[in-house]
């Protein structure tokens, strides 16, 4: 029996498990998936929790509901990947030898990386919304908040879902308007980037949104520390921003097991070939999703597009061939812009988000880089698609490679 081990049963790991179990012969291939938690979180839903749109039960399901038959599931922390010995050591003491390994250990927030961020105000007046605990604590805080300075700060790039901070301030504008206290709330968007977003045309469009919604953009701000006593954030070059409530997107890093195994860069992301998705320097290790160091967005849509490329390349490699499929960095993101509307962006390594129409058989077209109700419905519909199709590794009506059809250059 040949052995495939998948590390991580989040979005990327689960969908690879489903795809490959469906393809690989059960009499020839043993597949094991390892994760330390039983609960699967629908992470795009965390954004809606602080504003009372979703609650906890809207974003959780048991991971095991999404595992196919005929696989070994191991619930344990991973101690170390010994890539030179083709095996994985688990904290429960067992050793998993493999012929092929897929690393899907994701990324998580590390508030400890910024001085004072996880201080005495943590989850009291300083929050994150990238964890279920942070999102729920913030929901509870906002419910009773009467106004003041709300500061959203991105600690450093790259982060998971780079549009989420923008969506957060757009939704906050809507939420405080609905609550009738928008005139008492100042919203500040404080970012290390030079504008609203990373890509020039989208940055300009989304920057205009910030202005239109009376959200104060403070660019080029690299946070050095949080002053819990005086409630302000201070940058390395000593700029200061006062807050009554701070919503932080802390430094994102790959899992510590990557560092322990000597497989990561300075942020514990695994150096990965941007086209083949193989770990650099190894011919039997693939990497997918947020765990890679690829210059693409860390997002579920990206993991989905990567999964189709990875599947093709996996089949080539186990046949003793060179991997032929090439990932193009395709990302596709619905951006909630508040008041029941949304914006859609679609881009890859070389083509930045452009305006135009996005064709989607049977449902679309959606408008690109433009605010519409239809785009909002797209985002809401996506949750159903995520649980029922994406995680199960089923085909989605959208190509893994980006298409120029409908885009205006």
């Amino acid at each position: 029996m040949k052995k495939l081990v998948i590390l991580g049963a989040g979005t990327a790991g689960t969908l690879m498990l489903n795809k490959l179990r469906g393809i690989l012969d059960k009499s020839e291939w043993n597949i094991t998936i390892v994760d330390m938690y039983e609960t699967h979180y629908y992470q795009p839903g965390f954004l809606f929790i602080p504003f009372g749109i979703y609650n906890k039960k809207d974003v959780i399901k048991p991971k095991r509901d999404f595992f196919p038959n005929g696989v070994d599931v191991v619930m344990s922390q991973i101690s170390k990947i010994e890539a030179d010995k083709n095996r994985v050591l688990l904290e429960n003491g067992s050793v998993l030898p493999y012929d092929y390994l897929i690393i899907a250990t994701g990324t998580k927030i590390n508030p400890e990386e910024t001085e004072g961020l996880k201080g005495k105000l943590w989850h009291k007046e300083v929050f994150d919304f990238y964890t279920i605990e942070g999102a729920l604590a913030l929901a509870n805080y906002f419910k009773y908040w009467e106004g003041g300075d709300m500061v959203l700060n991105i600690a450093e790039m790259p982060i998971k879902c780079p549009v989420a901070p923008l969506e957060f301030v757009f939704l906050a504008d809507w939420y405080f308007t609905e609550r009738g206290i928008r005139d008492k709330v100042n919203i500040h968007f404080v970012t290390p980037l030079s504008g609203a977003f990373t890509k020039p045309r989208a940055s300009s469009v989304l920057g205009d949104f910030l202005e239109k919604k009376n959200i104060n953009l403070i660019p080029d701000f690299s946070i050095a520390k949080v002053d819990n006593e005086n409630k302000k954030i201070i940058s390395w070059d000593e700029k200061e921003v006062n807050f009554d409530v701070l919503v932080s997107i802390p430094t994102n890093m790959g899992d510590e097991v990557i560092a322990r195994s000597g497989l990561g860069d300075e942020l514990n992301f695994v150096p990965t070939d941007k086209e083949t998705l193989m770990a650099e320097g190894y011919d039997n290790i693939f990497v997918i999703g947020d765990a890679t160091n690829l210059p693409s967005s860390k997002a579920g849509s990206v993991a989905h597009f990567e999964s189709e490329i990875l599947t093709e390349n996996f089949l080539d490699v186990i046949d003793g061939r060179k991997p032929r499929a090439k990932f193009d960095g395709h990302a596709n993101c619905f951006i909630e812009s508040g008041f029941g509307k949304g914006v859609l962006i679609d881009f890859n390594y070389t083509t930045e988000p452009l305006p135009g129409k996005f064709p989607l058989p049977g449902i679309g077209p959606f408008s690109l880089l433009e605010e519409t109700k239809m785009n909002h419905y797209g985002k809401i519909m996506f949750r159903w698609m995520y649980w029922n199709q994406l995680l199960k590794g089923l085909e989605l009506p959208i190509e893994s490679h980006m298409t120029m059809a409908g885009k205006r250059v």
């Binding site: 790259p158 050095a224 390395w236 070059d237 860069d265 210059p295």
Partner: protein
């Protein structure tokens, strides 16, 4: 594509003002780019610039601030005083590289 005149020579730059052709770079050009950013290059600056070029040669990408802090021997606070307003971006520009790809 825009060009700027540096030391009497027309040199191609991108929209961020970074050199398009790595081969246009040399130490004299670096001094001029630094001047246009209001920076007088000292030995410490060169330590950072040389580290950046070394990383670029090895990996094909300019290092992020985090990598600079961890590996160049210059801490974050000092990086900001050497290259006010954005060490990774400014040092990359002076080193003749385009800004780090870490932002996506």
């Amino acid at each position: 594509m825009a060009t700027v005149e540096i030391l009497g020579k027309q040199i191609e730059v991108d929209s961020d003002g970074c050199l398009v052709n790595l081969s246009d770079w040399n130490k004299e050009v670096a001094v001029e780019i630094a001047k246009s950013e209001g920076i007088e290059l000292t030995e410490k600056h060169w330590q950072v610039i040389e580290f950046m070029r070394k990383v670029y040669e090895e990996t094909g990408d300019a290092p992020s601030i985090r990598k600079l802090t961890k590996q160049s021997g210059v801490d974050t606070k000092e990086l900001y005083s050497l290259f006010p307003g954005g060490p990774a971006k400014k040092a990359a520009k002076i080193a003749g590289l385009s800004k780090p790809k870490s932002c996506v």
